[in-house]
């Protein structure tokens, strides 16, 4: 698969896209701005990007460059002002709010910088919260927790876990429902070096074992080393790409 600088050809629409092109993600001319102080501030400017199935893409850039906004658009958490965003055959630009909700439930998993575990649910219940809404059997939760090495912590609440353990629970939550795409926003930003390395190893290992596509946003160059591809973003634009093209396995 190739990541390309804009401009790029218009994508075909619909679920045939993945089958036709092999692209898990196809972004074309995406633009996003926010109003701040009464003025529109462009955060993403004419961004086009293709990501293949099974890739482990690291989006690298300084704070405020627009990388998290790109992640939000891919996750259906926000909408682009213009352009098209196709993920796994879903046209996110045209999707209704209900369709976006269903997309988030079934097709995409999130890993956040601050873990975002629900503090009143145990580790297992947090993972179950991710699978039940996807319509996947609750029984998938515990094996995934075991897979991230936290079987013994299933009954613990987030406040009883370390930061690294919490992020592992978050990874299990994101993956237990079997999404085709996992989006991670600064997943190691709140961890020390050792724990960060452990989390990255885990994500990369799961990427290789399960084949789930990962898009990881970070400002940390050391994270880039784990990616099959690195996309550099500056001032709302993709300025460079590096790494091998194609599946990360």
């Amino acid at each position: 698969m190739t990541g390309r600088l804009s401009p790029a050809p218009e994508p075909a629409s619909g679920s045939a896209e993945t089958a036709d092109t092999g692209h898990m993600v196809r972004v074309r001319h995406a633009r996003k701005s926010y109003r701040a102080g009464g003025q529109a501030q462009v955060v993403l400017d004419d961004v086009s990007l293709d990501i293949g199935e099974g890739e482990f893409v690291v989006v690298l850039g300084p704070s405020g460059c627009g990388k998290t906004t790109l992640l939000n658009l891919l996750g259906g958490l926000d909408r682009a002002d213009s352009g098209s965003i196709l993920v796994g055959g879903h046209d996110l630009a045209q999707a209704s709010p209900a369709e976006l909700t269903a997309y988030r439930a079934r097709s995409v998993g999130f890993i956040f910088q601050f873990y975002n575990l629900l503090p009143t649910l145990t580790a297992l219940e947090n993972v179950e919260a991710g699978v039940t809404i996807a319509g996947v059997g609750r029984e998938h939760a515990r094996p995934m927790l075991e897979r991230v090495g936290l079987a013994a912590a299933a009954g613990k609440f987030p406040s009883q876990l370390s930061g690294g353990e919490q992020q592992r629970v978050a990874i299990a939550r994101a993956l237990a429902k079997g999404p085709r795409l996992v989006l991670a926003d600064e997943p190691t930003g709140n961890l020390d070096q050792a724990r960060a390395a452990g989390v990255l190893d885990l994500m990369r290992g799961l990427n290789e074992q399960i084949g789930t596509t990962f898009v990881v946003v970070s400002h940390d160059p050391s994270v880039a080393a784990r990616g099959t591809r690195v996309v550099r973003v500056t001032d709302g634009r993709i300025v460079a790409e590096a790494g091998q093209s194609g599946a990360g396995r």
Binding site: T68, T69, N72, G75, L77, D78, A98, T101, A102, Y103, R104, A105, R106, F110, F112, Q113, F114, Y115, N116, L117, L118, P119, T120, L121, T122, E125, E128, A129, G130, T132, I133, A134, G155, F157, P158, S159, Q160, R173
Partner: protein, 772 residues
Amino acid sequence: MRYWRKAWRDVRAMRSRAVLLLLVIGAGIGTAAGIALALHDVRATRDGFYRDYRLADLDIRLSAAVPAGELFARASAARATRATARLILDGGALPPSGGPAAAELVGMDPAAPLDQLAMLRGRPLAPGDPSGAVVVSEYASHARLRTGDPLRVSVAGRVLTLHVRGIARSPEYLLATANPAYLIPQPGSLAVIFLPRAGLQALAGLPGQVNDLAVDLPGGGAGAGNRQLASGLPVTAITPRDQQFSYRFTNADIRSFALFAPVLGGVFAAVGFLLLALSLRRLVHAQRRELGALLALGYPRRAVIITAVLPAAFLGAGGAVVAAAAAVGVAQLVATEYAAAVGFPAITHTYDPVFLLEAAGAALVTALLAALIPAVSLARLRPSAAMRGDAPPAFTLPAALRRITARGGLPLVYASRTLLRRPVPTAATSLSLAAAIGLGAALAVLSTSVSHAIDATFTGQAWSYTADLARPLPTGQARLLAAGAGALAAEPVTQGPAQLAATGHRADAQLTGLSAATPLQRLRIVAGQPPAPGRIVLSEQLASQLAVSTGDTITITTSRASRQKLTVGGIARTLASQQAFLPQPQAGTLLGLSGQATSLYVTGDASVASRLRASPAVARVTSKAAALTSMHQLVSELTGLITILLAISLGVGALFLVSSLALSYLDREGEFATLRALGYGPGHVTGVVASESLTQTLVAAALSIPAAILIAWPLAQRIGSAWFQISLAPVPGDFALAIGGAIGLAMLAIAHATRQIMRASIPAAVRSRLIG
């Protein structure tokens, strides 16, 4: 540092939360102040009316007419500053529509210096129009009389046709009732008809004669001079101003209403402060990092506290405006509704600045205090600790509780544990709501209990009508009179005024002599025994006023007998407040009416009442059914006032609920954003919000039942001392409206909160650090 500018920016950034806080600050205090202001306005209106239309200091009513000059001479001798003599005759009114009613025909000087008429419609009395009547407005409204209507009256055995020339209010008959012994007035039960004095004297064949003297005396008419003024006259009643029915009722009623004010205000103020303290604590803690930075930059603690508190000052100032506005609105609503319920003149709204300033000041001070406490504690932190921000809330549960709360779907699990995670706000919200619901339910319980007390009292009575005799008759003749009218049973009684005294206490009473067997009028004895020779039975109110119980000794004084000592043999529950009962022979002796009856209790149908009314020996006839209906009517009119207070209570409760929900969701906006990011849609979010809110509302509803009883109990005691004793008799319906209303409002709050959550930006909220 420009503290004010920063504070103003902070408040503006809060947007709808700031508005909600303004309302929370203003609503509780404003409602409390509004009720107090309503009371003030009602009192001021009543006093202003009495002053403007000159309610007399003292009224002396005679059982026989005497020359007017004699009464004026006595008034002059007593140095009365103003005096007017009137001829007042009992009779009956037969209006064009509606049934007959007891009537009081008042022949007065159209230019009387006392007890003047406040004309509402038509023209005043004219000496040249002897049959031109002015009718008291309450009765005119009840009988649908208009100016120009003819009005037939029966008086002294004759039926006359008068013409309604005007409708007026009278300070003396502001609340006119056929049975003044019953403190609850019966609206429309007494037709008070004013005529020119000479006209009534001519109609009654009593030229120049009067039987009533109203005077203003130096010192307000209190003291021994009163008896001197009436000495040797055939006195029926001497009524000082403070014993006058309207005056007594409004005083008693306003006193009982006055107790509602601190209870209502206290509940609102307490729950308001609770939620305000929680809200402003959050507001102050939201600035924690900023304040930590100020400390790190070397700003003194004082500056940090000012920075933290100033936004609350802005909110307090806004809340002060809301409180003052709410006070005005609530005062207008409550006072107007009260006036309509009890038949008061149009309320003069004073907008007394003292009340408004107090409300505004209380709002400001409350807001500042609520913010000052967390601000001081924050300012004591080390800069590094303050800059780290609030620690994420830790949460654990005992294993058993964890298992119990793990049942059900995610919305239930998350909701139940969220409520357990925040026990203080959860408890505060539930208690606040319970207080608001309980307050509303307590008012409904009181209304039901008053109705129940009236029913219970009348249910025990076997009579259908009472007939007050125009003059005392031997009991045998009274029985014959009843039999002649077709009564199935009759019970003559002897009644008259008496004064009772116990150690350190005195009270005026209506002494009633009951026959040995009392088949028709049955006393509800709540302590001791029925009347017996030397053993008097007192109403609960009298016993309370005299601070006596059964077995104690009291002294009784009447105008016809010297003092006598009696033992309190029993205490009875009566609607009429100042009642005392003795066996008829002993009462007759004390009242100087041995072997005579002053009124009759009879059973029979409406034709018996008609025949009694037609008899010249009968002054007035009162129907038990009409008395019962009119008392219920007054209670139902007062229910309108209660409904308004209930609506205010629920409105404030709903505001607190919305506010606490908003506060709770603001604290967890990151968690809701996470749920939405995981794919939870509006249905699931509504499930979470509804589970939490309805749980709190249902807990509050359960707590509101004992809360309502706790609130209603002291109010019932107060009503008991003002009107008559009532036992709380709650029925499920009393709670249904308040609880149903609260659940309905909770549903609206849930819909609002869900909409707010679904409108929030997921990307912004999901990065919140306040996640465990």
